[in-house]
Symmetry: D2
Subunit: 383 residues, 4 copies
C-alpha cells in the first residue's frame, strides 16, 4: 500500500510499504478515509526527536473496517470508525481508571502508546491506505455510516478531544471565565470546548491574525500578545480581576512577544506561558495543560530546557492556591460524547481544517504546514 | 491582658497589651483556653519575613465565647469553640466556593486573612488571654462543652485540617498508596488523614528518628531519606512501581539528604521535594501540596529562590500526566467533619503534641521549638 | 406601601401595608423593581395550602438596596441586586454544604425558608414596593448597575436556577441526551440549561402547543404526550434506546394524556411523570427532580396522594440502576454563574416571560395566569 | 466435573456436568478454589424466580487460571484470580462509564450479566470445579499467589464490593453519620465500608442478635428494631437529628418489627426500609440502595409488590431534598482497591464467613442457610 514515510529531517515521501495484517485475534484492519497531519508530527519531521527514518506517520485516523480478528466481538467489516491517537488495551489499571493515554499494556516499559509516533510502540501510522488497530472493540469508535461530517469526525482522533481535555483538566464550568493560551488547532478546540461547556468568557491569546480571527468567529475574545502584555490586557478588560480558569495549548515551544512579527528567529521561552497562566488566573483557580512538555528536548534553549526542567513561579502558584492538570489526552474519555454532539449538528470543529488533499500530496503539505504558509493550519489526507 | 508579642528576630516576650474589643456587630470575643505554636510562627520568629515588632502571635486558637456582637445569631456566651486560622467572611465569591483560605473581604487587596500573621490582615493572634473573632457565626466552630479532647480539638484550628487538606488536594481514596514527604506535625497529620480516608499504604519520608517512629506508630511506613534515595526506597518496596498519590508537607525550606545528620549547616534545596514527588508518584497520579511555598523569600538560597521561582521537572510531570493542588488550607471545609470524628473517639491527633505549657513559658518554648531540642514538636499554650 | 395581599382562595388584592423595617443588623431593605409571579404562588392562590389570608406574596425579587443594617459589610445603598427565593444564613451546616434551600437557621423547626410563602418563615414577599432581606451580604446577589437585562436577571431569583438545578441533579454533561417532562417556565429553563451545559439532545414533553413551540425555538425536540405515549415516541426517535438523563419539571400535579385537550376536568395522576421518567431513561442514568412533591396535599386525588405517598416502579428503577436527586433549588449555588452568563450576553432566559405589568394589575394577572388564558405564562410585576 | 445443580424449589444436588470449554479467544478456564453461597442464590432456591432446573449456581468465584484463549493478553495459566459476579465486556458504553453491572454486550437484550443466575445470560456458575470466564483480561482480578487471605479475597467477588457500593451510592465521606438497614453479610460489609471510608458514626439496624453483635464488634452501633422504632432510637441518640446518609442493605423482602421474634410467619413489608430510611436521614442527605428490588416478584405480598411498585413517601423525600442511588454493584469499580486494602492487612472482611465446607456438602448447607440455623450466615465452598 501507499504510505507517508519519514525519510529524515524535513523529508517525508509517499512510498509503497507492506500492507498491515492481523497480528492478534483482537485486531482490526481499517481502510483509511481520513488521516490528519498534526502539529506534533512536525516535531519528528523537524528532526527534533529520536525518530528513525522509515516510520509511517499518522495518529489521527478514520476509515472503514476491512477485516476483523477472530476475537473481535462488537465491530464488524464495513463499520465506519475513528480511532483515538492513543493505543490502549481497556483492561490495565490505567485504562480502567479512564487514563487510556497511559495504558501500560501496549507499549511495555512506558505508560502510553500511539500510532506512527516515535517511542510510542510498534504501531505504524495511518497516513496510508490501511491501518492495523489493536483491541479493536475498545479502540474503534463507531460512527454513523455514510459520508456526513467526515472532517468533523476525523478531528475526534486527537485535536477536538485534546482541546476538550484542556477544559476538563481545568474543570471549566458554566458561567466561568477562561484564558486559553494558543489559538492553533488545539487552542481553538480548547476555546470551542469551553464555550460548549457553557463558559461565560473565553480569552484566546495568540499573535497570528488568522488564528485570532477564528477565535473571534467562534465567540472567544482575541488577545494579541504582540500588542501588549496579555496578562494585563485581560485584567484590564475584567476590572482588574483574573480569570477563573486557564488552559495552556502552547507547550514547551512557547515564544516571547513580537518574536515572529520581527521576521527573524523566534525567541523560544519554554516557561513563558506557564508563568503567564499563573499570573492571569485568579486565586483558587485551575490550569489545564494539554500543551506538550517533554522530559528530554535535544533542541532545548538551555541545559535545563534540554532535560525538561523549567523555572516556575511556584511561590506565586501556591500563594494563589492554584491547581493544575497535565498530560496527553485520554481520547476515549471524551470521543463518544463529542461524536454525539457532532451528530446532533451542534459543534462543527472542522472550521479549523484548512486543507483536504490526496495522500500523494502529503510531502508538499508537510513543507508548507511546517512553514505555516498558504494558510496551512490543519490538513486532512484522504487516501 | 497578657500576650505573646514579637520583639524582633529570635525574640518574643509575654507582655501586657490592650484587651480586644468588639469592633463590628458580627464579632465575638473568645477567652482562649488553648493556642498552639505553629511551625509557620517560626518563619516570623526567625526574622525571615517582613513581620514588624509588636505583632501578637497565634493563629491556632480555641476557647470559650466571652462576649458577642449585636448581629451574632447562632453563637452565644459560654460556647466552647475553635477557630480556623483563616479569617473569612462566608459570603464573598471565594468563601462561597469553599475557599475560605482565600477570602477577599477580610484583608483588602489580598486573597486570605489570618490571626497573628504578617500581611494577613489586622487580626492580633491568640497566644494571649483573649481574641477578637470577626464573623463569629461563620468562624467559631462549636465544640461539645466541657474539657474533653482539649488538645485534639485545638488541632482543628490548623494542622489537622491542613494535613487533611494535603490528602484532599491529592484526592486520596480508599485502597490507594501515598507518599508523604515530611513527618513533622503537618506531615504526620497528612499521613494520619490518608489512613482515616482508607489508604492502603502510606510512606512517610523524613530523617528525624522521633518523627519516623511516630509515623510508624500510626500505621505509616517510615522512609529515612538519609539512608538512601527515598524515591528508590519506595519503588523497591513496591516492585518498581510508584505510588498512586503524593503529598508535600515540607515546603520551600526542604533540605538535601544527610544535611542535619552531618551536624553542620543544612543545605536548603527548595525544589527537592517537588521533584522527588514527581519521580515517586506513578503516571496518572496526583500531588497534594499543603507545604508552604512563598513568592518572596529574602532568605532564599539564590536569586530564583528569593522570588519563589523553582526549577521543576515539568517535562516529566507532563509525561506522567500528573495533577497537583496547592495552597493554604480552607479549614472550614474540613473542621466540622474532623470534629465529629474526634467526638466519636476515633482519631486522636493530639499524639503529635509534645508540650502543653502556660502562656508565660512561651518565650522559652519558642527558643527550644526553633532549635528542635528537648523533643519540642508541637506546643500548646494554655493561658 | 402597596403590596399584593392574599385574601382567600382565588382572591388577591393590592393593598397598603406597613413598610418593612430593618429588624437585625444584617438586614437590608430593597426597593423592588421586578417581582415575578410563580406557578407555586398559585398553589396558595387556589387555596390548596394552609396559607392564611394576609400573607404578602412574592419570592422572586429584584431591586435596588434602599437601606442597610449596621452589620452589612459588602452591600451598600444603591446596589442593584436579585435575591434567591431561599432565605438563608450562610453559616449553618446545610448552608456551608451549599444547601441554602435547607437553611436551618432562618425558619426554626424546618429546613428551608422563603419570602412570601406559607410555612417558610416570617418573611413577607416582594410583590410590593419594598422587601426586607435578612443576611443581606449573603442573600443579595450584586448585578451590573443600570437597566440592562432586567427581565433576564429577575429570573435568577427562582426559575432559571431551578431549571438549572434539574440539570445539576441529573448530572447532565456535554454530549448527553436528556428528557425534560414539562415545558412550563421551569421546564423550559431546565431544557435551556441542559443545552447551555452542552447536551446533545433534549426532549421536551408537554401537551400545550405554545410551550412546545418555545421548546423547539431554543433547540429542544418537542414531544406532545397527547399524540402518543411519550416514552415510546422518544425511544422510536432514538433507535429503541432511552435517554442518558431525565428531568421532572412537573411535580405532583401531573396529568394524564389528553386530559386538558378533552376540555373537561384534568385527570391528576401524581406518579405518572416519575414512572414515565423511569421508563424513558436508560440503565445507569440519572433523574433530576426539581418539580414539587409535597408530604401533605389536602387536595390530593386519593388517601395516599393526600400524604404524599406515591406508587413508584421501584423494582424497575433498581433494575436499571438509576440515581435520582430531589428538592428545592439551592439558588445560591448557581445564581452568580448564571448572572455572568447573562451579562456576557449568552443566554436570554427572559424568552419565557409573557407579561410585564404594574403592581396594581396583579389581581387580574393572577386570575388569567391561573386559567392560563391570554398567553399568561410568566408574569413580572414592576412596582 | 462436579457442580451444584438446581433441581427445583428447595432442592439442589452435587452432580457431574460437562467441563467448561473455551468458547471464545478471550475466555479463560478457572479451577475454582472458593465459591460462596449468596443470599440471592436463595431467591432461586426458594423457587421465587423463573429459574429452571439444571442451572449451575455460583456467582462469587475465585481460583487458579487453568487455560486461556488465544486472545488473552495479560492473564496466564497459574494466576490466582477472583471474578466479579458481573460478567462484563469492558468496551460497551456502560462498561466504559464504569457501570460493569450493566454491560450491554454479554446478555443481549438486557443490561447486565452474571454467572449462575436466572436471566443473567448463558454463564454457568462456579459452585463447581471449573468455571469459564469471558473477557478474561477484563474479568479476572489478579491476586497475590499463594493461599493467604483466601476467604477475604473470595468476598471480593460480590459482598465486600456490594457493601462498599452502598457507601459509594450514598457518597459516605469522612466524619459523617450513616444508618445501615440490615446486618446480614451485605449490611455488615456496608457498615464496614463506611468505617473504612472514615465515617464517624454508623448505626446498624437489624433484629438478629448475632448480626447486631458482629456490627458492634466492627465498631458500628447496633439498633434492634424489634425493641422500638429504629428511626426514633437513632434520633434519640443523636439529639433529635437524623443521619447524614443511609444505606438499604435489605431490599424487597423487608419485614416489619417483631415478625421473626414472634416465631411465626414473617410479615413482609417491601417498602418499610425505604420509608424508614427517608425518615432517618436528615434533609440534604443521600441514600445508597444496594439491597435488591425487582420489577417482577411472583411471590409478592400484593398486586403492586408483584410488579415491583412500592408506595414511597415521595413528598417527604422531596421536602428533605434527598438523593438516592440504586442498582447492582459494578464490582470492577472497587475490587482492585479493596484487594489492595486486604493485601495491606487492614480490613478482614472474612469475619462474616460462618462456614467453609467441601463442595459436596452444598445441599446440606443450602437447607441450613435458607433456614438460618446453626449460625449459617455466609458459606464458602472449597471444591
Amino acid at each position: 500500500m501507499r504510505a507517508v514515510v519519514y525519510k529524515g529531517p524535513f523529508e517525508v515521501a509517499v512510498e509503497n510499504v507492506l500492507d498491515p495484517k492481523l497480528q492478534h485475534p483482537n485486531d482490526a484492519i481499517v481502510k483509511i478515509t481520513s488521516s490528519c497531519i498534526c502539529g506534533s508530527d512536525l516535531h519528528m519531521y523537524e528532526g527534533r526527536t529520536a525518530a528513525q527514518a522509515g516510520i509511517v506517520f499518522g495518529h489521527e485516523n478514520m476509515g472503514i473496517i476491512q477485516e476483523v480478528g477472530a476475537a473481535v466481538k462488537d465491530r464488524k467489516v464495513g463499520d465506519r470508525v475513528v480511532m483515538p491517537f492513543n493505543v490502549a488495551c481497556g483492561f490495565c489499571k490505567n485504562c480502567l481508571g479512564g487514563f487510556t493515554g497511559f495504558c501500560i499494556t501496549v507499549n511495555p516499559g512506558f505508560a502510553g502508546g500511539a500510532y506512527g509516533y516515535v517511542a510510542m510502540g510498534p504501531y505504524p501510522g495511518g497516513q496510508a491506505e490501511y491501518l492495523r488497530v489493536p483491541f479493536a472493540d475498545f479502540n474503534c469508535l463507531l460512527l454513523p455510516s455514510g459520508k456526513q461530517h467526515e472532517a468533523d469526525y476525523a478531528l475526534l482522533a486527537d485535536i477536538f478531544p485534546t482541546g476538550y481535555h484542556g477544559a476538563e483538566l481545568a474543570g471549566v464550568k458554566p458561567g466561568e471565565s477562561v484564558v486559553v493560551f494558543g489559538a492553533g488547532p488545539v487552542g481553538l478546540m480548547a476555546a470551542y470546548s469551553c464555550l460548549i461547556r457553557g463558559a461565560a468568557e473565553v480569552y484566546s491569546v495568540d499573535h497570528v491574525k488568522e488564528r485570532l480571527d477564528k477565535a473571534a468567529e467562534i465567540g472567544a475574545i482575541p488577545i494579541n500578545y504582540d500588542e501588549a502584555d496579555p496578562v494585563q490586557q485581560i485584567k484590564d478588560r475584567r476590572g482588574g480581576l483574573g480569570t477563573d480558569k486557564g488552559i495552556d495549548a502552547v507547550g514547551y515551544q512557547a515564544t516571547s512577544a513580537g518574536s515572529s512579527a520581527a521576521g527573524g528567529e523566534q525567541d523560544e521561552v519554554p516557561n513563558i506561558v506557564l508563568n503567564q497562566l499563573i499570573e492571569t488566573v485568579a486565586p483558587t483557580g485551575a490550569l489545564g495543560i494539554p500543551g506538550l512538555y517533554v522530559p528530554s528536548d535535544p533542541g532545548g534553549v538551555d541545559e535545563n530546557a534540554k532535560k525538561g526542567a523549567l523555572s516556575i513561579n511556584f511561590g506565586r502558584l501556591f500563594e494563589k492556591g492554584l491547581r493544575l492538570g497535565t498530560g496527553q489526552c485520554n481520547v476515549k474519555q471524551y470521543n463518544a460524547h463529542l461524536r454525539d454532539l457532532i451528530t446532533a449538528g451542534r459543534p462543527k470543529p472542522s472550521f479549523v481544517v484548512s486543507h483536504e488533499i490526496p495522500l500523494d500530496d502529503a510531502p508538499d503539505a508537510y513543507v508548507k504546514f511546517d512553514k505555516r504558509v498558504e494558510g496551512y493550519t490543519k490538513v486532512i489526507l484522504n487516501p
